[in-house]
Amino acid sequence: MTLQAIATQGPSGEEGPRINDFSLKFANVNGTGSASANNLILRAIFRMGVPVSGKNLFPSNIQGLPTWYEIRVNGQGHTSRSQQYDMVVAMNGQTYAEDIGQLSPGGYVLYDSTWPLPATLLRQDVNFLGVPLARMCGDAFSGPRERILMKNIAYAGAVSYLIGIDPQVLAELLEESYSGNQALRDSNQRALRLGYDYAEENLPAELPFRLEPGTGTEGKILIDGNTATALGCLYAGATVAAWYPITPATSVAENFRKLCERYRRRKVTLTDGTVETRNDFVILQAEDELAALGMVIGASWAGARAFTSTSGPGISLMNELLGLAYYTEIPAVVIDVQRTGPSTGMPTRVQQSDLLECAYASHGDTKHILLLPADPKECFDFAVRAFDLAERFQTPVMLLSDLDIGMNDWAVDRFSWDDGYRPDRGRVLTDADIEKLGHFYRYGDEDAEYVTPRTLPGLSEQGAYFTRGSGHDRYGLYTEESDAYAQVVERLAKKVEASAAHLPEPVIRTQAGAAIGVITMGSCEGAVLEALEILASQGTALDYMRVRGFPFDATARDFITSHERCLVVEQNRDAQLRSLLVLEAGAEARRLGSILSYGGLPISATQVVEGVRAEMREIGV
């Protein structure tokens, strides 16, 4: 029995088509405009009220290489990567063999029948649905570029018919997307109709799986993590962003710019009567990631909320200044949209392999606050929290998103905003505060959480101090004295530990009779929860914890110590989360096993189920 069948086996039995439970794979050539067609299908399914996800498996290339898009439809909301495809839309001759080979038995291949498929590709156990896309679009459209682009929309039309997308919804979406460009809207509609009508006349009316409108997306939005992160930075009141282009983080900064241009521009009337636009933000495209973090540190030191967004290679470069910010106690928010390392690695593939690097970034004794979002909703919420934490604890805070969260569309609960929110600016003293205190010691007078007061350059007459990355004492003065040095760095260690109480607490789900715990982080969540449900349906109950921040709090420690055995699910080769739990959460190494996925594609429930089963066999359960 397939995993999906197990997951969705309903009380009504196996009769009739499978409703709202299937996966589609689109095999395209990159640079041909397929993204808008695939996105159209994704949004249409979402708008019909059915939980859905889209995962873009794309090459590090501009044009001409194979690229895939996977859509998983699941009425129960399980939308992690499926790996079992009910239909492949095979639009790339280079990868026909691979794409057709991956199809589940009984599945469907939709291909361009303008040309015959090579006989060697024909599988007896799958169904071939030919649509003469090139011929139809060649007849209907004139320009060569338009003919190529519209083939995509035409297959979207055919797929829509086959799986039961409401044509009214498609029309609405096109209307919204191309409201400013009537010609484009018309040609898209024409192409969509071509494919839809052809399928209606020539292809089977009923496949063994199909869509039915539902209510599963009420109160939800379909959004990517990078847009959500940028939105969080905007709402947190960030005014300075510095960045260097890097996949998969680029769209954080680009979206932040778009948002600022929409929400942070004012018209001002100059003394001579002319009206000009003024920006309440500065976005700096830096010369490299060293500079990007340097700019963030400078801006944060001066009192602005500032952030940078990058990926693993950028974090490597930022190590130097992460140590500076840690030691000089300057807030800095760093968004790390993780990709596959080491070195350049696979820039368009996902991993969670920056965890250890970020936790201890820079030379010397350091430890940094990390936030570990699982989806775009948490990207939004945690981005705001990152600024509060960075300013309260005067230290770098890294938000570790990843390519899967950052660049793919996820159906998540609508974001909400409390208009009563005010930033936690931490201990910033004004001249009046200093007069009241009678003195100002930059690295002295710590509060209960070991945080010391700071002042802002250019804004304080009484509070001038000298910030230095060299050895300093509690007054901020240069020192080479062991005790004076130690006093500061010992407080720093306690300060970062104290932050644990302010981080998002772990998400824990327990089941009666569970002996084993499963621990995970970030974008693994969907696959792990689905796997636990499948295992539970087969009589294996497991407890679950997803850590959402570092340093770990007592809840995380208790979960580990209360289980004889835990399995840590993560997307890297070296079991970095497991190592961090052993180092920092008092976990005994022998009690922690691992389920690892590091090939660069998002982890699936199948991998987790198999990992758990292997573990059960090993320990003889």
């Binding site: 005014t239 003024r278 001066a302 602005a304 500032a306 101090y465």
Partner: protein, 351 residues
């Protein structure tokens, strides 16, 4: 150690500037550099320039990287915040600070190791962005704190303390800055306070990045015979033809402006630079002429000093960005956060 306090000797009434401060109010902690270090003279010139400009001491922000030069931010204006950051990274950190709060005078102090080697890329891009700051390179051709290695500004043939000659072509910050489109480029000599103070004052009133390459001999490792960054060599080869005077335009001085046909350049933040001496064919507002002049002087083995090029019309980073006039740090959160209604509205395009 920079933390050593200067002894306060009560002196007779010292002259006060326009905001009622004496020159002592612009001093910093005691220098820990070697006796005779050129950098201390630069520090003294900065103190003098700030005093004469009557800048409120806390409205100065002192930025530096790592190295002998970078220590000197501790030795002036102790009422100003200072940031002695990481080697080579002064420029981006200053860029960020300036982005956040444009309402201060940013003075970056760097050296030839800091700006021409490890931080060369950052300096280049700070110049391109025209960050509103005074960028001083205390240039001695040598790494002091690590005891005497050649830096990127060492001339070919210039000898190290123990005799070996440098064989690698130098990076010349003046030519580099001119070629990058810098808006203010000067070169001076730490031993020439009379020239350096007016250059610093003009730089402080310049809108954009004012690059000042100050040859500042290292008495310990690079002041010997055979070095082209020694006091003696610079004195013998300095070409002092482009002499600026900075004239504050406050109050009565305006009326006293001499009308002797000298070239005058109005600085963005007020004040005028009057060029006392100029070669007949030299126009410090003409980039190509400046580059030609400097190249020719170099070819003759001369070191041209003075305010070599200035262009007040080049937009700085904030003008290019259309940044709000009030510093970003002073914008109230209520104006920065779009609020819940806008969030609802924004999400309509994600359903």
């Amino acid at each position: 150690m920079p933390s050593i306090k200067k002894p306060l000797i009560p002196l007779a009434a010292m002259p006060k500037n326009d905001i009622g401060l004496t020159i002592r109010d612009y001093e910093g902690s005691m220098s820990t550099l070697c006796a005779g270090c050129g950098h201390d003279s630069v520090t003294a010139a900065i103190v003098r320039a700030l005093f004469e400009l009557s800048i409120p001491p806390h409205k100065v922000v002192k930025m530096s990287g790592i190295g002998c030069s970078s220590k000197t931010t501790a030795y002036f204006d102790s009422a100003a915040h200072g940031f002695n950051s990481a080697h080579g990274r002064m420029a981006p950190i200053a860029t960020g600070a300036n982005a956040a709060n444009r309402d201060a005078l940013y003075i970056g102090i760097s050296g030839d190791g800091d700006s021409l080697s490890i931080g060369a890329g950052h300096m280049v891009h700070a110049i391109r962005r025209n960050v509103h700051m005074v960028y001083v390179i205390e240039n001695n051709g040598v790494y002091g704190l690590t005891k005497g290695q050649f830096s990127a500004s060492a001339d070919i043939g210039s000898a190290a303390k123990h005799g070996e000659a440098n064989t690698v072509a130098p990076v010349d910050p003046v030519m580099l800055a001119l070629s990058l489109g810098a808006s203010f480029v000067a070169r001076s000599f730490s031993g020439d306070k009379e020239q350096l103070v007016p250059i610093l004052k003009a730089a402080a009133q310049h809108r954009g990045l004012a690059l000042i390459d100050v040859i500042s001999p290292c008495v310990q490792f690079n002041n010997h015979y055979g070095s082209t960054k020694s006091y003696r060599y610079v004195r013998e080869h300095e070409l002092r033809e482009i002499e600026p005077d900075f004239i504050s335009t406050g109050r009565e001085i305006v009326a006293d402006l001499p009308h002797d046909g000298a070239l005058m350049v109005a600085m963005h933040d007020g004040g005028l630079v009057r060029f006392r001496t100029l070669p007949a064919d030299y126009d410090p507002t003409d980039r190509e002429a400046a580059m030609h002049y400097v190249n020719q002087a170099h070819a003759r083995g001369e070191i041209p000093t003075g305010l070599l090029f200035v262009d007040e019309s080049i937009p700085d980073v904030h003008e290019l960005n259309h940044t709000s006039e009030s510093p970003l740090v002073e914008l109230p959160f209520e104006e920065l956060c779009p609020g819940s209604a806008e969030l609802e509205d924004f999400q309509k395009s994600f359903v």
